[in-house]
Amino acid sequence: MSGPAMRDAAALARTDADAAPHAAAKPMRPSIALLRKDLLLERRAPEAIPAMLLFSITTFVLFHFGLGRDEVSDQLAGGVLVVTLLFAAILGINRLFVSEQEEGGFDGVLLAPIDRTALFVAKAAALFLFLALVEVVTVTAFAILLLGPSPWPALPGLLVVLALLNAALAVVGTLVAALAIRTRARDLIVPIVALPLLTPALIAAARAAAPLFAAAGAEALPTKWLAVLALYDLVFGLLAYAVFDFLLED
């Protein structure tokens, strides 16, 4: 829906609500309400976060055996960490809209007088937070199980890289999840579409993280790769904002 029409809708909703006897004194922003609902649901019945955690740690074990190494550093470390996070994210992406789809919740949101992009913002924010939570444990596990050099000097730089990577995963993940949720083969569609789509972000994040894990001691963050990641986030963020509405209408 276009900007002016949306402002009209908001104005209309406000005047109606003011006239209505039950209007809220301080209305909560719709995206916040949606986000709180998702966080509450995950806390009440945790599914995505435990699965993503277990999956990551198991993947580290597999990498150990698959690569035949006790320790990784440099480019290999960056790659192993980012790829593991990517695959774990796929699990989270698959589950993102499931509560809406199964419990008819899409209708509940679609009937509300809100801008539907609020749903995108809320879901992307939820995914970002879930990934951040998972990463706290995953990075710790990575440092213990596989990482050769000390993780501490790498930490500040790693936070920057992971923040940008999470943004990419959140934006693209939410888009692909919304695309896939109403198809017949949704848990197949998500990986085959999301993985190629996320490849530039994967490349940039792995290359950015590599110097942090240098065997000789953490080096500086390569700004070139951070710029690529930021560009990716920007382009897909804007695109998602423009295009999300079309996925929800009927």
Partner: protein, 262 residues
């Protein structure tokens, strides 16, 4: 009447392709380093360029579809991406042949254009499975358009990322350090690009005309024999154009299937 310019387009394409092959075999110089097999470059690079432009064109048609909600734009988007995918496979095959001839391996990771070309293929290869998994034709078209737009934006981003990540080895025949291709190569290359573009346009036009004719036929049969005489459509990834013959009086005033399918 569908496929109006098809004959002219076919002739032009045939002429351009013939000219290309004539130039390639008899006019373009033999490359000193790579020998005869270098000539596959005249197929590989134009095909690759046409592929990427076609994907972007598919995204543009998808934007038009979402804005105007006219199904003919979805048809054009689908066909553009569909044919571009075939070109993509051809480009990868010729790229592999060239790699084998030049560097001795069927695949080299060292050159970003080929690698990003592969990733683009992996993405667009999901277009048809995605479409097939959505049964409602309207929703299928809409979701496919959203995908095409995302994937179209992805093409340049992907190229940037891969290029930045790879040690650069791809033979730069478009602009060497000596400054540009020798004239004979440049001319052949140009004709080759024109030929591949015409080939792409021709294949798209054929597919669009074939689909429109099939839908026109189906609509006529429904009208003449009644809706029940025509078997219902199975699931399909291809866009459907046929308007069902509406039975209500208000709708009878609407457009004929011929107008709709154009």
């Amino acid at each position: 009447m569908y496929g109006k310019g098809l004959r002219a387009l076919s002739l032009a394409t045939f002429a351009a392709l013939t000219a290309t092959f004539a130039l390639v075999f008899f006019y373009a110089p033999l490359d000193a380093d790579q020998g005869f097999i270098q000539k596959i470059f005249y197929v590989h690079v134009p095909v690759a360029i046409v592929t990427l432009c076609a994907y972007v064109l598919g995204a543009v048609f998808a934007i038009l579809h979402l804005r105007t909600r006219e199904r003919r734009w979805d048809l054009r988007s689908y066909v553009a991406i569909h044919i571009a995918l075939i070109f993509n496979v051809l480009g990868l095959l010729t790229g592999a042949i060239w790699a084998k001839a030049s560097w001795g391996h069927w695949w080299v990771w060292d050159e970003p254009t080929l690698v990003s070309y592969l990733i683009v293929f992996l993405l667009f290869a999901t277009y048809q499975p995605l479409r097939f998994s959505i049964e409602d034709p309207e929703r299928q078209a809409r979701y496919a358009s959203v995908f095409a737009i995302m994937a179209g934006a992805f093409v340049p981003l992907n190229f940037i990322a891969v290029r930045a990540a790879t040690a650069y080895v791809h033979p730069r025949v478009l602009a060497t350090s000596e400054g540009g291709m020798p004239g004979q190569m440049a001319l052949t290359f140009l004709i080759a690009i024109v030929a591949m573009t015409l080939l792409f346009a021709l294949l798209c036009s054929y597919e669009i005309a074939a689909k429109q004719t099939r839908w026109q036929l189906r609509a006529l049969r429904r009208r003449l024999l009644g809706g029940d005489a025509v078997a219902p459509l199975g699931r399909s990834a291809a866009p459907s154009l046929g308007e069902p013959a509406p039975r209500g009086p208000a709708a009878r005033a609407s457009r004929s299937p011929a107008e709709v399918a154009s």
